[in-house]
Symmetry: C2
Subunit: 368 residues, 2 copies
C-alpha cells in the first residue's frame, strides 16, 4: 500500500457557518493506494474527535499504526488495491490542519480562544475545497465513525452529488443532551483548571507539568466511549496490586486505567482543539438550516449505510435508526440500510470490533 502525507495551504478565505472566516488555512491529509485514471475510486475517511489524517499504515518509529489500520489496506475491507483512500485532518484539530494553536495571520501568535467556532459543516466544506483542488469532484464513498459519521451525513445532505455512498458508524443525526452533558463535564474540568490559563497555557509546559483538568475531562470521555459490559469484562472490581498485596481500600484497576489515559492525553492532544471540536460535536444537528429531518434527508440522493452498536451509550442505536426510518418515511428506503451490530464494547466498538462490521463496509462499497 502506497501511503503519502501532504499539507495543502489555501489563501482564499474559508467562509464559516458562524459568519467568520479562516484565512489563510492549511489542511493536512494522508492518502493510501493510487488514484485511478478517471478518478472514480476515491474513498474519503472522516475521523472522530481525537483522530487524525493518519488512519492507516505505520511509520518508522511509530508505536501504533493509524487508527483504522485494520480496515484500510491492500486486501482489507477498504481495499487500497481498488480504492484511493484519503483522510483529512479536520480544521480545528491539532495534527497539522489549521486549529486554535495555529498562527493568527499576519501575526505569528496563535489564535487560542480567538479561533472561530467550527461546525461539522465547516469541516466538510474545507475538505470539499481540498478535493476540488486535487481535481477530485466525485467520490465513490465517504465513511466515518462517531464525529466522522456526522461528517459523512453532512456530505450526504449538503454535498448530495459528491459521493455515491456514505457509511456512518456509531454516529447520530444530532448530538443529544446526553452526549452534550458528557462534553460539558469534560469541558468544565478543563476550563476550570488554573493551568489552562483561560487558554493561554504554554503548550510545552503543560506537557511537562500536566494538565489535570484535561486529564479529568478525558476520563469523562472514556466513560462515554466504553460501556458497563466492557468495563465489567476488562476491569471488574479488581484492585491494583501493590507489593504483592491487594490494598482493600486502594485503587481500582478502572481508576488506574482512567488515570493513565487521562494523564497521557496532554502528550498527544491540544486542550483548545479539544474545546473547539467538542463544541462542533455539540452543535451538530442535521436539521439545522432545514425544517425537519425529513427535509434535510430529502436532499440525499445516494446510498447511506448506517451501522450502530448495541451497547453504544454515547450515540444510541435508535439515533441512527431514526435516520433510516425517516428515509423510509420520505420514500427513500431504497437508499438507506440500517445494521445494528451486537457488541459489548460501547461506542468504541467502531474502532475495536472490526471483525463484526468490516464485511458490511466491504459490501456497501461493492454494491455501487
Amino acid at each position: 500500500m502506497k501511503i503519502a502525507t501532504h499539507t495543502e495551504t489555501f489563501t482564499n478565505p474559508l467562509y464559516l457557518e458562524s459568519g467568520r472566516i479562516l484565512e489563510p488555512y492549511e489542511l493536512k491529509y494522508e492518502t493510501y493506494g493510487a488514484l485511478n485514471e478517471d478518478k472514480s475510486n476515491v474513498v474519503v475517511i472522516c475521523h472522530a474527535l481525537t483522530g487524525s489524517h493518519h488512519a492507516a499504515g505505520q511509520y518508522e518509529g511509530e508505536r501504533k499504526a493509524g487508527w483504522w489500520d485494520e480496515m484500510i489496506g491492500d486486501g482489507k475491507s477498504i481495499d487500497t488495491e481498488d480504492f484511493f483512500v484519503i483522510c483529512v485532518n479536520v480544521i480545528g484539530s491539532c495534527f497539522g490542519s489549521t486549529g486554535p494553536m495555529s498562527p493568527k495571520y499576519p501575526a505569528s501568535d496563535p489564535y487560542r480562544m480567538k479561533f472561530p467556532v467550527i461546525t461539522i459543516s465547516d469541516m466538510v466544506k474545507a475538505q470539499r475545497i481540498l478535493f476540488d483542488r486535487l481535481g477530485i469532484h466525485k467520490a465513490h464513498a465517504v465513511i466515518g465513525g462517531s464525529m466522522g459519521g456526522m461528517q459523512a451525513l453532512c456530505f450526504a445532505i449538503e454535498h448530495p452529488n459528491f459521493a455515491s455512498c456514505h457509511i456512518l458508524l456509531a454516529s447520530t443525526h444530532a448530538t443529544g443532551p446526553w452526549a452534550i452533558a458528557f462534553n460539558k463535564v469534560a469541558r468544565e474540568a478543563l476550563i476550570q483548571d488554573p493551568a489552562f490559563k483561560d487558554g493561554f497555557y504554554d503548550p510545552v509546559e503543560i506537557k511537562e507539568s500536566g494538565l489535570s483538568g484535561l486529564a479529568t475531562g478525558r476520563m469523562c470521555g472514556y466513560i462515554s466511549y466504553l460501556s458497563p459490559d466492557s468495563m465489567d469484562k476488562k476491569f471488574g472490581r479488581n484492585y491494583v496490586q501493590t507489593d504483592g498485596l491487594y490494598e482493600l481500600f486502594g485503587k481500582f484497576e478502572i481508576e488506574r486505567y482512567l488515570d493513565y489515559n487521562g494523564l497521557n492525553f496532554v502528550n498527544w492532544f491540544d486542550p483548545l482543539s479539544f474545546l473547539y471540536i467538542t463544541k462542533a460535536i455539540n452543535i451538530f444537528d442535521a436539521t439545522r438550516n432545514y425544517d425537519s429531518l425529513e427535509d434535510s434527508l430529502g436532499r440525499i440522493n445516494s446510498e447511506i449505510t448506517l451501522i450502530s452498536f448495541s451497547n453504544d451509550l454515547l450515540f444510541l442505536p435508535r439515533e441512527m435508526e431514526k435516520i433510516h426510518q425517516t428515509m423510509g418515511n420520505i420514500g427513500k428506503e431504497n437508499l438507506s440500510k440500517y445494521i445494528e451490530i451486537e457488541s459489548s464494547y460501547g461506542h468504541d466498538a467502531f474502532l475495536v470490533e472490526i471483525d463484526k462490521f468490516a464485511h458490511h463496509v466491504r459490501d456497501a462499497l461493492k454494491e455501487r
Copy 2:
C-alpha cells in the same frame, strides 16, 4: 404525622472495617409516627449519597419537604399511622452525624482527610448501635434506594435477625467499574481544584467563592442519575434563550441545568463528605468477607424485595436481578422478589417515579 429530630452521642468507640475507630461519635436521626408498645412497627429508611435523615415532612421555612416525603406519611405507602419510621444520617455525611468536618476529639479541629475510611457496613453498624440504645432490637423493615439499598442489603446479610423484610431500590450487590468510573471523574475534579486545598478548605469561604471542582464532580454525578431518555424529554437540544433570541452557538439547556445544580451543590453538601461517601460506595461489595455471592446471600433469612428501574444506568437492573437469581440458586427463592419498573428516568426514578413503585413497597410491607 408526628416528626421528631434527635442527635445521639456515643462515647464508646465505633470499631470500623478499616481497623480504625471513631470515638466519640454522633448520629442524627429523624422519626415519623409513633413506636407501638411491643416495638414491632419500626421501619428503617436508609438514605443515598447526598441524602439525609430528613426523609419526610416539611419544617417551617423549608423550601422543600424531606427527600422521600411522597412515600412516608399518614396514609402513604410507608404509612406512619401503622409504622414508626426512622431515618439516620450516615456517619461520614454532613447533616449532623459525625463526618470529616466534625471535631477530632480531644481537639476542636476537624478531622478533614484524617477521618477514617468508612464502609457501608460501618454505616449500618452505627445504626444498629443507635437502635439498640433506643431499645429497638428488631425492625419490621429496612428500606433504601441507591446507597440506601446497599445498607438494606448489608442489614440483611450482616444483621440477618434484625429486620423481617428488606426493600432495595435502584441498587446493587457490588458497585461496578462503570459506577466507580463516574465517581473517579467526580472525585478527580474535586481533588484537583486548588480551592479544595487538599482538604483544608474553609467551609464558609467555599460557599462564597464557589468550588468549581465539586460543581464539575456533581455534574458528572447527574449524568449517571439521569438517562438519555429523561434528558431528551426534559432538555432535548434546546438552547438557552437570551434576550428573546436563541444563540445558535450558545449554551444548551442541559448545560445550564448542570451548571445550576453543580454550582449550587457546595451550598448544601460538604466536599470531604462527598469524597468519603463516594469511597464507601466504591468499596461496597456484598461478597467481601465471604467466599461468593451465594455465600453472603446464604446468611439472609428474611424477605428481600428488589426493585430496579429499566433505564437505570448507574446500577443496572441486571445487578439486582443477579441477587434474585442467586437467592434462587441457593434455594431461597421464597424469600426474594424481583420487580423491574419501566421508567425513562434512569437512576433517579426511585426519587421521582413514586407512583410506579409505591404500591410494591406497600405490598412488601404488608406481606409480613
